[in-house]
């Protein structure tokens, strides 16, 4: 099959053929032109932190072993790693802050959002120690937002409230002993940038400890904060049926693709697409079809059932179908090349955020207080663009798969409570204890041009399911598995081992599905990795053990973004064995690579990184880890 070396997705292969014919350059062409990539960069031993450089360390020992300032490979690799974690953390903390700001403005009547989930609001407020009795939802929401703001304005030495309120107590104590409890997300990000500058920290171990601290900022001041606030504003997800892959685009509809990560605008686009359906019909379309890419896509899939067009690597190919009337982007993972490609079609590329502009795109600014006007203008721009379609260029592949998404922790506990309303986690724990469910693995993260699109996700998950390991997924990993048909009851029949299948069937039937639960539970966007953190924390709490003792693992098979490095660092800090399918740029330092992947980090935090670039071997490694943890628990 042509392009089998680029993607597992048949729709993507088909569109690559078309793109090739039309001379459209894609991410894969550019990746090939970048080969071979710089060895110093791949090993993490290039330092550009001061202008005496750039300095490189010879990894083979013949050339220089120190940079101009005297920094060796261990220091350079540790500094670069910390800066990566800071980059990822900054993205998530900024996202979370925007959500908190929107909640505050909504609660004080200054932004047209309604607080949709009062139950979540109360439960978050209660965790934060805010008195809920006798307060209306706006008053309570304002206090929750102010508590978030207080973390970002914490001038004292106390740790972040969002962390102490939501992380397991055992972890808070462990992190406290290591001196890595973050105080204020912004301050830790600032301090780490300072720490990694020329002539500040020379101790690789101290730098790695700071990476742990920043990982915690990511986990609680980024992921958890964002998920909590977004659930309060837009509702906590519940199981929802939808579809995934380029076949969800409809040639006779106005197609609006929403792409990026922050759902503050896209939720409103969903609303306005419904309101303006008549205008689309008046323009000659049969209606408006929304679809998503990356995590904005996940947010509106989880809460609104909006179908998925594709994941990260195929964002350009969505435009080559010729039916995307508008692609609306917010922040993160938006390829600059979208402007070049949309220029070859009638597609309106619309940027919306002040920090993410693309030359060649139309900029319709997102402002929280005028979000309705913005969303309406965007939908109308798409309807206008529909009239300019070039029928010669229309080429929509048929491929799409049914997906069930929306598995928030609340939804999972809800389904389990149909079996045991007193102790909902008991049926799951019992089935882990008796070995019907060997363990669980979170498969998360991106696509990466270094890996055949989706192939690592799919091959590894097949192995895990066959061995009765339950899989939960987020991000582009969830899209990959959705497109490949793993988010369906049929997948339980097809891929799950016998005992896992029996458990999924029992839970599915009890929950009234008359079918098994999907063997891969879609838990949301990348910030929703916090949901996975909550689920494992709840399981540990129920069993009265630490997270590090559970028979679980995490895996980012095809990660590319700094955000994934930050999330992975948080996961390891939480005590999770975390697999990476692409080699991170640390092999230039034996010291750093050893600390991250073996005894030093495991003895302090309970988790560690595990790097394996072969999907079958990675599954074997994860299963071996799960079995080891089971043995230590005596089950």
């Amino acid at each position: 099959m042509r392009f089998a070396n680029r993607s597992l997705d048949p729709a993507v292969r088909k569109m690559l053929g078309e793109a090739n014919k039309d001379g459209i350059e894609t991410v894969w062409d550019r990746f090939e032109l970048q080969q071979p990539q710089c060895g110093f960069g791949l090993l993490g031993i290039c330092c550009r932190n001061c202008i005496q450089g750039p300095c490189r360390i010879d990894p083979f020992g013949n050339g220089p072993q120190k940079g101009v300032c005297g920094a060796g490979a261990d220091l350079i690799v540790a500094r670069n790693l910390l800066r990566s974690v800071v980059g990822g953390t900054a993205a998530h903390a900024d996202h979370a802050y925007e959500a908190a700001e929107a909640l505050y403005l909504a609660a004080t009547g200054k932004a047209p959002y309604e607080i949709k989930d009062e139950a979540k609001l109360k439960s978050v407020a209660a965790k934060l120690g805010i008195e809920t009795a006798g307060k209306d939802k706006n008053e309570l929401a304002r206090e929750v937002a102010e508590t978030a703001f207080a973390d970002f304005a914490n001038h004292g030495t106390s740790p972040m409230k969002w962390l102490t309120a939501t992380a397991p107590q055992e972890r808070v104590e462990t992190w406290g002993k290591l001196g890595v409890l973050p105080r204020n997300p912004d301050r830790e990000i600032r301090t780490a940038m300072h720490q990694t500058g020329m002539g500040v920290d020379s101790d690789p171990v101290n730098l790695i400890l700071s990476a742990v601290k920043l990982g915690l900022v990511d986990g609680y001041g980024g992921l958890h904060l964002a998920t909590d606030i977004q659930d309060i504003l837009f509702g906590t997800p519940a199981p929802v049926v939808s579809e995934a892959n380029l076949g969800v685009l409809k040639a006779d509809h106005v197609n609006i693709v929403i792409h990026g990560h922050v759902p503050l605008l896209s939720e409103k686009i969903v609303e306005w697409a419904k309101k303006l359906a008549d205008e689309a019909r008046a323009a000659g379309a049969s209606g408006i079809q929304l679809s998503g890419i990356c995590c904005t896509g996940n947010e509106v899939l989880m809460r609104q059932g909006v179908p998925v067009a594709n994941n990260f690597l195929a964002q350009e190919l969505a435009i080559t179908t010729g039916v995307v009337d508008a692609m609306v982007v917010d922040v993160q993972c938006i390829m600059p090349s979208l402007a070049d490609i949309s220029a070859c079609y009638h597609t309106k590329l619309i940027s919306t955020m002040p920090i993410a502009k693309l030359p060649g795109a139309q900029h319709i600014p997102f402002e929280t207080d005028k979000v309705d006007e913005t969303a309406r203008q965007i939908v109308r721009t798409a309807i206008e663009a529909f009239k300019n379609r070039d029928p010669q260029k229309v080429n929509v592949p048929d491929e799409k798969s049914r997906v069930i998404a929306g598995f928030s922790v609340e939804a999972i506990v809800g389904a389990l409570s149909k079996i045991d309303s007193e102790a909902p986690l008991k049926p799951l724990v019992d089935n882990i204890a008796n070995g019907n469910v060997l363990g669980a693995c979170a498969v998360v993260g991106c696509n990466n041009a270094k890996v055949i699109q989706d192939s690592f996700h799919v091959t590894m998950v097949k192995e895990l399911l066959k061995n009765n390991v339950l899989v939960v997924a987020t991000g582009c990993a969830a899209h990959a598995l959705g497109k490949a048909g793993f988010l369906t009851p049929e997948a339980a029949e097809k891929y799950a081992g016998d005992t896992l299948k029996a458990v999924l069937t029992a839970v599915g039937n009890a929950a009234g599905l008359n079918a098994p639960l999907p063997p891969v539970l879609h838990m949301g966007s990348c910030v929703d990795n916090s949901r996975i953190g909550d689920l494992v924390s709840a399981l540990a709490g129920y069993l009265k053990v630490a997270v590090k003792d559970l028979p679980i693992a995490a895996s980012a098979p095809e990660y590319q973004h700094e955000k994934a490095i930050a999330i992975g660092t948080w996961a390891v800090s939480l005590g999770v064995f975390t697999h990476l399918g692409v080699v991170p740029p640390v092999l230039g330092s034996k010291q750093v690579a050893t600390i991250l992947t073996s005894e030093p980090v495991e003895s302090l935090l309970g988790g560690k990184f595990y790097v394996e670039t072969d999907p079958v071997k990675a599954a074997e490694g994860i299963i071996a880890h799960i079995k080891d943890k089971r043995a230590k628990l005596g089950i």
Binding site: P36, C38, G39, L42, F60
Partner: protein, 166 residues
């Protein structure tokens, strides 16, 4: 016969050729494997910087190689079929005569084996590793006549431009 030729205006001194050369001469032929192996592989090309220019230097594969003439053990030889100067490490006694006579400093020592090593032009590869690795295409693997033809054309272009400017 193709030669490794360098466009000196294009070398940015990134040393990608050095890494690619060492990796190609490692056991695993893979960057990560090469870094992890006990005995570090040796590069045979060196980016040297001079007065405002940088240049990746490796064995020039001389037509009349002084290193071959100077080799008293017969280890250094010019392969008649390929025309390439190669060193037979079984015969090399590490006397370093070749190092002394090479005007380019292209012969180095394998410190563990105490033998001379140099660019072998990646005999098993169609295009040498340093050429493949060069991100600016400064290092070329080309027929000498093709290179000079391109240089003549470039000269003419520059000449015409300078005439127009006048």
């Amino acid at each position: 016969m193709k030669q490794i030729l360098v466009d000196i205006n294009k070398c940015l001194a990134c040393k990608s050729c050095e890494i690619a050369c060492a990796v190609t001469h490692s056991g695993s032929k893979d960057l990560y494997g090469a870094v992890l192996q006990e005995r570090k592989p040796k590069q045979r090309v060196y980016v040297e910087a001079g007065d405002g220019l940088s240049f990746p230097l490796q064995c020039r594969q001389c037509e009349e190689p002084r290193c071959v003439q100077a080799c008293m053990s017969g280890a250094m030889f010019r392969d008649t079929e390929s025309g390439l100067v190669q060193n037979n490490s079984d015969k090399c006694v590490g006397c370093w005569m070749c190092v002394m006579v090479c005007p380019f400093g292209a012969i180095i020592q394998d410190t563990e084996e105490k033998k001379a090593i140099k660019c072998d032009r990646c005999m098993e590869l169609e295009v040498p590793a340093c050429v493949q690795a060069c991100p600016t295409k400064a290092i070329k693997f080309t027929q000498i006549d093709d290179y000079s033809r391109a240089a003549r054309k470039q000269y003419l272009t520059n000449f015409q431009i300078s005439e127009e400017v006048k």
